[in-house]
Amino acid sequence: MNRKLAVVAFAGALALAGCSSDLPDSGSAGTSTTSKQNAAKSEFFDQAEYERQLKFRSAKAVDLDGDNSQFKPWQQALDPKMVDTAKYAKPGGGYHLCFSNASVDNPWRQVGWKTMQEEVKLHPEITKFSTLDAEAKDDKQISDIQSFASQGCSALIVSPNTTATLTPAVEAACKTGVPVIVFDRGVKTNCPVTFIHPIGGFAFGADGAEFLKEKVPSGGKVLALRILPGVDVLEQRWAAANEIFAGSGLKVVGVEFTDGDAAKTKSIVNDYIQREGKIDGVWMDAGATAVAAVEAFQDAGTALPAIVGEDQQDFLRMWAKEKLTAVAPTYPTYQWRTPVIAALRILQGKQVPQEWVLPQPKVTQETLQNYIKDEMPPLHYAMCGCDQMPGYPQPWK
């Protein structure tokens, strides 16, 4: 009865506010907030790739030179298929490394970019390091890559802005005979000597969803918060989580987009707490607004849920302080070290994996304290593999 009245009142309100009934249908973007236990599979779901990534999570990472004495995941690979690089060998040092960067417009890329610069400093055989920032524009990156062709690069590292659009530019660069190394997002060609990336979005999404499945009792209410639709890495994370939730007995009460905005996140979570009374778990496709989500629970005075965050310092600190039930899957920033290492291996004629899959660890209750760095800024990503580097911590502050 109440529900009906609300609908009537709501319709009246809409009419008064000047809204007509020709608003776009809400279901189209997959944002319907009603709970669906058998939610349709996302169009981004790829069963084979999903299984491959889940398998990678338990694969043993191998150090390419057989030195497994230390935890240095940025120089390890999962299930590597090595390729010969003798034709690129250029012994004697004096290397000129070139890097075409997609952008540095978010904290994750900022941390990664600083880490890469420090990695370069570790190697005296690199005498020149040229870099061009594409400022998140495909056309700029295409011309950046072209301009490197005439600069005498010993090796070219590319972090593509988008996959399909940059493919021809990378292919053209391969044809100049310079070894090309691609990392982070990929391209649709096999011409780069190596493609470096962590396991991927399916594994990331699954890590969080499995944690909630384990910690939230069956029938518990889970709210999924996503940044925005249509970005393939983020879509993969949600597709995996959706897959796991579907068979879990958990009730997904809402899937909402936050735009990565803390205030919006807080409002959405607040609304859900009021609507559902209690939320037992919060799944997020990226941790940037995890702190805001937890604050919404604090401000509402309700029990804190089991939550999936990421390895940013502000979240890790809150996790420790509030004794959260939490997990932080990571998309490790230490992958920015690997392209430099790979470039040197190639120039020395050592083998590298054709597809260099890096381990993708998660921060758990047991390992939390290792990753809390009180001197670092709140948006610093802990999984940078940088805390043993000589310049640490100044450049990252």
């Binding site: 109440n2 529900r3 009245l5 609300a6 609908v7 009142a9 709501f10 009246g12 309100a13 008064l16 506010a17 000047g18 809204c19 007509s20 608003l23 776009p24 809400s26 973007a29 944002t31 319907s32 907030t33 009603t34 952008s103 540095v104 417009d105 978010n106 904290p107 890329r109 900022q110 941390v111 809402g254 909402e256 987009f257 735009d259 990565g260 905005d261 803390a262 205030a263 996140t265 807080k266 409002s267 959405i268 607040n270 609304d271 859900y272 009021q274 609507r275 009374g277 940037a288 607004t289 702190v291 805001a292 604050e295 401000d299 509402a300 502000d314 800024p377 709140p378 948006l379 502050k397």
Partner: protein
Amino acid sequence: MTRWRPRLADGTAPVLVVLVVLLVALAFAGPAYSEPAGYLALLKRAAPLVILAIGQYFVVVSGGFDLSVGSLVTAEVVIAARLISGDDGNTAWVIALLLGFGVLVGLVNGLITTKLLVPSFIVTLGMLLVLDGAVFLWTGGAPRGALSPSFRVFGRGSVDLPLLGAVPWSVLILLAVLVAAVLFMRSGTGRTLLAVGDNENAVRLAGGRVERLRLLAFVLSGVLAALAAILLAGFAGVSAQVGQGLEFRAITAVVLGGVLLGGGRGSVVAAAAGALSLEALFSLLNLVGVSGALESAVQGVIIIAAVAYAAHGAGLRQRFRPRKAAPSLP
């Protein structure tokens, strides 16, 4: 001396009706709204937008636009985090500096509009881009530093009042701003400001200082944007996206409040009610399970419908009235 009675300016009533309907609807839609605490939480959340809308009202009613408030909010939040860097000792002077920066941006907007005679739409659009670019250049997309707990109190904390219980700071600040704004609009200066939007030449011929009033409107908008930024940062913490789209929300709110774009008509209470209605509407949409992606669509429909209503509604009402004045449409 003067007898006091509640006066509602022309055009205030419809938005108040909308607001009441929305609030009642909220009570049906969400159990939390069956008690005052739910509405207090809504007010707390809406406070920054309402304050922004009040600032925007001053500019709109005097015949201008202020599109720079969204990026000003972002700039303020990023500056605050950087300068405070988590230290409570810095809170007081940083707040003063933030308000000062708001005044400065308002002054620049106002001076360029009035002295260089550039339309305010263009001036503030330029300011939006300048601030956006400057923030990006300075932070590289990743704001550094942190806010102190004492800074966040204003947006997040509550104060215990006798009789009322815990009332959020932001609600008290909002009330203070609203009362001040109402008193200002009833003063001679406020009335002249409204007249500037209606007929600039008449005000000038009557000896009013048009430029100075316009300037004042921009400064008020700037300083209120700074205040909104302090509340928003307190509410949600540091983010480089915090101000995105706020300028359009504020304008939607003002328009929803029946304030005439182009100036000269509308009340500040209605503008504030418009902002609150907008926030209540979004809460309601969320509570009944309508996708958040619809927000911008709803906003767009409101702007168009409200302006259309303002343009034709007056004429329609006149037509249905018995005789006398003919519709005064141009």
